[in-house]
């Protein structure tokens, strides 16, 4: 580990706590009023089911089997409980880890291979424990498949980590320096989080592509992932947004819930991006601070050497040592942890984009339905005209077309209602997960802060008698 020194900064630390607690405020509130970042526009009534009661998560969803909805099957024998119970289960019978990055090949064709280990008791898996080797493009390929399958149904598909040309090039070229080590570690961690989020989704867990990814030793090489980065997919899918904007008929939102939620997510998006940028700036400034503190510690040591009063000289040298120790401690600590928070924020910025994409998909579905209705109307008008024109064969065709479009209208309506239902469920799940995610990270962070502070107390209490001994 390189020598990272960072000033034990009480001011910095205290501000950290302040930030973290504020984060907690935002992200741990369960009620929609608190989760909603803009205080305006909260309509107390909405047509659909309410999501504020976590136990009532599936109140609006038809019980029993609804197409597209699936539940993870537990390995244990369990009476088929209501949907709430299954979803609210805290323990998830699957553990995934991404580890042991290994470089394969040389030069610009080189790539990293990661070991993906799955430990599970779920019956859909063929074994309790599986290890496979995967490369980054495999993850991207998985995401592109899942997105194309599920996004249009309103499922929030967790996006894969971003590509990074700069980062990867360094690794390929073989630079064994700190930044490439950090890069690989950052990527490994991101890939792990990606997989965990993916399998947390009950539908995705059962998906055959996911199972194949986790289990089979050979995976067909994902093609055209150059074009299909996670962001690329989202952009493609979000072209629906452009279509929506071009819609001549503005969607008549009969359900205020969707309007509310969309606004919420817009706001959340803006806030998260701002926050993420600030946190990244902070990480950068902290690096600067650590460098400056390290040089101060050295300077203080030199000053101590020069000091001719023996006791003061000793105390100054001790001070320099304490500063170094503390900075090392704090640097290890807060840098790594802010890394965590910064990465978490980055994940959620991408996730929010996926959520917004899903809302746009719903609009697309609505537009399709509306278009079908317009078409149907036209066909009916055409048929009416033909009635008078007395052309029996054309009339038959027209009647057939009417039937066809009636079917499409019905399908359109069904699809629209389905995607709306799915989105409600997905959003509820997303918000629960978000709260849990942030809580877990924040608790971890706070506990590590406690540890740091306790170490600090130890160091300073050891120094105090030295300072007092100056006579």
């Amino acid at each position: 580990m390189h020598e990272c020194k960072c000033k034990r900064s009480l001011a910095g630390f205290s501000s950290v706590l302040f930030v973290v607690l504020s984060l907690v405020k935002v992200f741990l509130s369960q009620s929609p009023e608190a989760a909603c970042l803009s205080a305006e526009d909260i309509s107390p009534s909405s047509n659909g089911p309410r999501d504020d009661d976590p136990d009532d998560l599936f109140a609006g969803v038809d019980g029993g089997s609804v197409s597209g909805q699936s539940r993870p099957q537990s390995g244990r024998v369990r009476p088929l409980a209501g949907p709430d119970e299954e979803e609210n289960r805290d323990t998830f019978d699957i553990q995934i880890s991404v580890s042991d990055p290994e470089k394969v090949g040389d030069g610009m064709n080189a790539y990293m291979v990661y070991k993906v280990t799955t430990k599970t008791s779920l019956s859909i898996f063929s074994r309790d424990e599986v290890c496979v080797k995967r490369r980054f493009s495999d993850f991207l390929g998985l995401y592109s498949k899942l997105a194309s399958k599920y996004m249009h149904m309103g499922y929030i598909v967790p996006p894969a980590p971003e590509k990074s040309i700069v980062g990867m090039t360094k690794v390929k070229v073989g630079k064994e320096d700190l930044s490439s080590v950090e890069f690989v570690e950052k990527r490994r961690s991101a890939l792990e989080r990606y997989l965990l989020r993916t399998v947390k989704h009950p539908a995705l867990l059962k998906d055959p592509d996911v199972l194949q990814f986790l289990e089979s030793s050979e995976l067909p090489r994902a093609v055209s992932t150059q074009a299909l980065s996670g962001a690329g997919i989202l952009r493609m899918v979000n072209k629906a947004a452009d279509a929506v904007n071009k819609m001549t008929i503005k969607m008549n939102e009969s359900d205020a819930w969707f309007e509310e939620k969309q606004q919420q997510f817009e706001n959340l998006d803006v806030q998260l991006r701002k926050l993420h940028a600030s946190v990244e700036s902070l990480v950068c400034h902290r690096k600067e601070l650590s460098v400056n503190t390290a040089s101060f510690a050295k300077s203080a040591a030199m000053l101590g050497n020069s000091e001719d009063h023996t006791a003061l000289s000793r105390a100054l040298s001790q001070l320099a040592e304490v500063e170094e120790k503390i900075d090392q401690l704090h640097q290890d600590q807060s840098y790594a942890d802010f890394y965590l928070i910064s990465e978490l924020l980055g994940d959620y910025v991408r996730l929010i984009t996926a959520v917004k994409g899903v809302f746009d998909q719903r609009m697309k579905a609505w537009a399709k339905w509306q278009d079908a209705q317009v078409m149907l109307q036209r066909k009916r008008e055409a048929e009416a005209k033909l009635q008078y024109a007395n052309k029996p064969d054309k009339l038959q065709q027209a009647t057939d077309e009417i039937r066809e479009w009636e079917g499409k209208v019905q399908q359109g309506e069904r699809d629209f209602e389905q995607i709306s239902k799915n989105i409600r469920r997905e959003v509820g799940r997303f918000e629960k997960d978000r709260v849990k995610d942030f809580r877990v990270v924040i608790i971890k962070y706070l506990e590590s802060l406690v540890h740091t502070q306790q170490q600090l107390i130890k160091y300073w209490e050891a120094f105090l008698p030295e300072a007092k001994a100056i006579a």
């Binding site: 910095g12 501000s15 806030q271 020069s306 001719d308 300072a467």
Partner: protein, 394 residues
């Protein structure tokens, strides 16, 4: 000291009152600066004196003084030949409101584009920064006067008395003094001291050690001060980032939990205390960098006196050889020797007490800093553990 800031509606006027809780050792002459007013570029200090000495007209009085008046006082003392054997307390540095001024500018420019909360927050930060600069500058001007008042010779200085007592504007005197001395002596000292001091063939062990020590230490402490300042500045950047982040969060979060809000306020208070305390270390180093320079100046003056004495010896030998002006040369030599001995004697005392003073100041500041660190850390631990409890129980 307890500071109560008072901000006028016109943002460019700042006043700060302080209540000194320090105990002055010698009650016969007690000086403090209870009040300071900052208007645009100028700072007006209220210098308050309480005395039992008969040389003053009243037992208690206050006068307004500007930073330039302090510099005038310092310079006249430096120029006074009698004080050559003393360490002259270093002049206080000019009040530097550049940081807060920049911020105020930014605040004015960005007022329209900020939310009400952001604006209020920035204003708060600005006020805190002004307060910090104020504290520093008042402290350093006060310490300068207190050094003078606690020195057996300086406290009797006529110009010092004028400074404390004269209830008119000192600017006329200041101008005259400048014309008289023109800062010539000061400039000479600065450029020549290193060479001259190190060139002295020292017979006296004490001064030999002091010379070596001071030359080396002054470099080291200057470096340590610069690094400490850099560190403090980085620190401020980091704290600024945190404030921006928390400000944004505060704006957006609907506050359901007052406990969190209280904790956030507490953290902010701790934040301020922590940055104040860190400034202690930097301020200590800054002050002693200047003080070390003053000690070096003393060595310089003594070295010059030694050089004068050696020259006078040479002149005497020459005179004896030539047989001309011997008496004069003898007299000159005697005077040079007297001066040099006087400087050496008082110089020794001054340098010894200087070391003692330095050690005491470092000890005091290091202990206070350490105790504060421990206190903050303990506070933080209990707050953190409280937060963790709340989070885990949710």
């Amino acid at each position: 000291k307890i500071y109560e800031p008072e901000v006028h509606s016109d943002r460019r006027k700042w006043r700060m009152r302080s209540v000194s809780v320090d105990l002055n050792n010698d009650a016969s002459l007690v000086i403090d600066i209870p009040d300071a007013l900052c208007e645009r570029d100028k700072v007006k200090f209220t210098v308050h004196t309480k005395t039992t000495l008969s040389s003053f007209q009243k037992p208690e009085f206050s006068v307004p003084r500007q930073h330039e008046d302090f510099i005038w006082l310092h310079d006249t003392i430096v120029e006074t030949e009698e004080y050559a054997g003393f360490i002259i307390p270093p002049a206080p540095p000019k009040p530097d409101f550049e940081g807060p001024r920049e911020k105020m500018h930014k605040l004015g420019e960005g007022e329209s584009s900020m939310t009400k909360e952001e604006y209020a927050k920035m204003k708060q930060e600005l006020e805190a920064e002004y307060l910090a600069v104020f504290k520093k500058t008042v402290q350093v001007h006060e310490v300068f006067l207190q050094r003078l008042s606690s020195h057996p010779m300086f406290r009797k200085d006529r110009n010092f008395q004028i400074f404390l007592e004269y209830d008119q504007d000192l600017s006329v005197r200041r101008k005259n003094a400048k014309e008289m001395f023109g800062g010539f002596f000061k400039n000479m000292v600065k450029s020549a001291d290193e060479v001259l001091i190190s060139g002295v063939k020292e017979v006296d062990e004490f001064f030999e050690q002091e010379k070596n020590f001071l030359l080396d230490y002054s470099i080291k402490i200057k470096d340590a001060t610069a690094k400490a300042e850099k560190m403090t500045r980085s620190h401020k950047n980091v704290a600024d980032d945190y404030n921006h982040i928390s400000g944004a969060l505060n704006n957006t979060a609907a506050d359901n939990n007052t406990a969190f809000k209280n904790m956030c306020v507490l953290q902010k208070v701790e934040d301020r205390m922590a940055s104040d305390q860190e400034l202690k270390l930097t301020e200590l180093l800054r002050y002693y960098t200047r003080d070390i320079q003053a000690a070096k100046d003393l060595l310089y003056r003594r070295a010059r006196a030694l050089a004068d004495y050696e020259n006078s010896n040479k002149a005497l030998d020459k005179a004896r050889l030539k047989g001309k002006d011997v008496a004069q040369a003898e007299e000159n030599q005697k005077q040079c020797l007297q001066k040099f001995d006087k400087l050496s004697e008082s110089g020794k005392k001054e340098l010894t007490s200087f070391k003692a003073r330095r050690v005491v100041a470092f000890r005091k500041n290091l202990i206070e800093m350490t105790e504060l660190e421990i206190k903050h850390a303990k506070n933080s631990v209990s707050l953190l553990q409280g937060s963790i409890e709340i989070l885990k129980s949710n």
